[in-house]
Symmetry: C2
Subunit: 308 residues, 2 copies
């Protein structure tokens, strides 16, 4: 779509109005704004810094991919991934698979080929088998900002601590959902066979049929284009037929394993705030002049999760 730059509905007006009007009125006004305007009107407390102990940096020749891990949903996998990063497990390993409209996956080529002359890399102190973490109990409760428009796959959807989630009150379960940019722990047929050594990121239409089938462990918060714009693999399921085509992983580090001077200072918009609710409303009913028809609805995987 050719979209003309948004005319500057003066943000100053909104901010000035904030001095005299109620907070509720301001948020209603914000909902009729664009995302850009809403973010400009945000306060420092609407954002939270990424926790270095829950942040992975994956350096590829093309650039850095930053992943926020979610121990609230996959504590055992996140602990194992931290251990693998601590041991530099992924350094020199590769992107193994890029399947169009599906996933980009990385790990140890030798673990895939299982060739006797090329044994897989040692996992060190990390575990090779982990119990499935495909869902968790709703209680103890996490913050939950529920979306109003329903969902094809789950009884309820929304956001908990910055991640897209689904809930089923009947079973008392909640789970992370497979939106674009979500990261999971690839597995074989056995449910406990995905210890986080081989990870994937969603690069296409949300493959929601994978929900509750595999442990999602986090999401890409920056550098997604370095995973999504890679050449697609020409083998079955998008695996690269020729390992020479693999993109090498330079290194993967947990931010907390690096000295503070080498950590990035990224913040993500909190999802348990009135400003996030205003953002959802603004995206349900787009106010930009380009829009001829306003959907009045939004899918959980179409809600932006801003990072700065």
């Amino acid at each position: 779509m050719i979209r003309s730059m948004l005319s500057a509905i003066a943000l100053a007006t909104l901010l000035a109005a904030a001095c005299v009007a109620s907070a509720a009125e301001n948020l209603a006004a914000l909902s009729a704004s664009t995302m850009e305007q809403i973010l400009k009107a945000s306060k420092p407390s609407d954002w939270r810094p990424l926790n270095p102990n829950e942040t992975l940096y994956m350096d590829l020749p093309q650039g850095r991919v930053v992943i926020e891990l979610d121990p609230a949903y996959a504590p055992l996998h996140v602990a194992n991934i931290r251990m693998l990063a601590h041991e530099h497990y992924w350094d020199g390993l590769a992107i193994l698979r890029v399947q169009d409209d599906y996933v980009t996956q990385w790990g140890d080529p030798a673990a895939e080929t299982q060739h006797p002359s090329h044994p897989p890399r040692s996992l060190g102190k990390a575990k090779a088998i982990l119990p499935p973490e495909f869902e968790r109990d709703i209680t103890p409760a996490l913050p939950f900002t529920r979306l109003p428009d329903g969902d094809v796959y789950a009884p309820q959807v929304g956001f908990s601590d910055g991640f897209p989630v689904a809930r089923d009150p009947a079973s008392g379960k909640t789970w992370l959902v497979h939106c674009y940019g979500m990261v999971g722990a690839g597995r074989d047929n056995a449910p406990d066979s995905g210890p986080g050594t081989e990870l994937y990121a969603v690069i296409g239409q949300a493959p929601r049929h994978l929900d509750r089938n595999i442990a999602l462990v986090g999401r890409v918060v920056q550098g997604m284009q370095y995973l999504s714009a890679l050449p697609r693999g020409n083998g079955p399921l998008g695996f690269y037929r020729n390992p020479a085509h693999d993109t090498q992983i330079l290194r993967v580090r947990l931010a907390s394993d690096l000295p503070p001077s080498e950590r990035m200072h990224l913040e993500v918009l909190r999802t348990d705030t009135p400003i996030f609710t205003a953002l959802i409303e603004a995206r349900r009913n787009r106010s930009e002049p380009w829009f001829h028809y306003r959907a009045g609805k939004i899918d959980v995987c179409n809600v932006p999760l801003p990072v700065r």
Copy 2:
């Protein structure tokens, strides 16, 4: 996901069963099969050849993108696109924009920059202004294979003649929906400003908020990876800041403008057939042993549309 190759639930068994059991029983058996098995069991009449008068070949340095046009939903736009292709309008023009998780867009760089020293390319006999074709009347009726699981955005969704569509019986309207690979006619703020000169393809999560806001004209049936794996643009909205980064379009042709010997013989699975319904069922409840949990649901943009 690491997925082991599917064990061969013998297709021969299904086909042998077809000789003695009713068609309904066979289709029920097929629904418990994989897509691969279902396609192997298809008959020639389950497929339709692409109509050369509704097929565009876009040749990029990376390879060929094949687009099926849909005159049932956007007759004026498809007629204009045919004219533009006939005039070789796009030859030597470029990919202008690649916005991650959104769209890849192509057309005339000079039409975007509006620089006096580089006037836009002439449209020849093609029209520069076209009435919006954002939706059409449900009647006269097209074949409609409705999905059973609802939709966040529309009252009804399903497939008409191979394209994902939505319907609103209350207003009597139907429209093409923005799934991955769908192709539309970019426009400026004026609803009639998108004559098909600048086209885009969806390369991420279905941007369904664009539905009914812009004329979708077709979908990519082959070569999607040549649009989805391009480097993302570094300017606003994913436009390339440096035109030297543009991918040049070698040529765009309507298949019917080429001699028969130069046409590809692609077929797409018909969507008004029992076998397509079986395919939908198989994708709602995946039978592969990898699946621990079966969704029992499917989103309109997750249904595969096979091409051979």
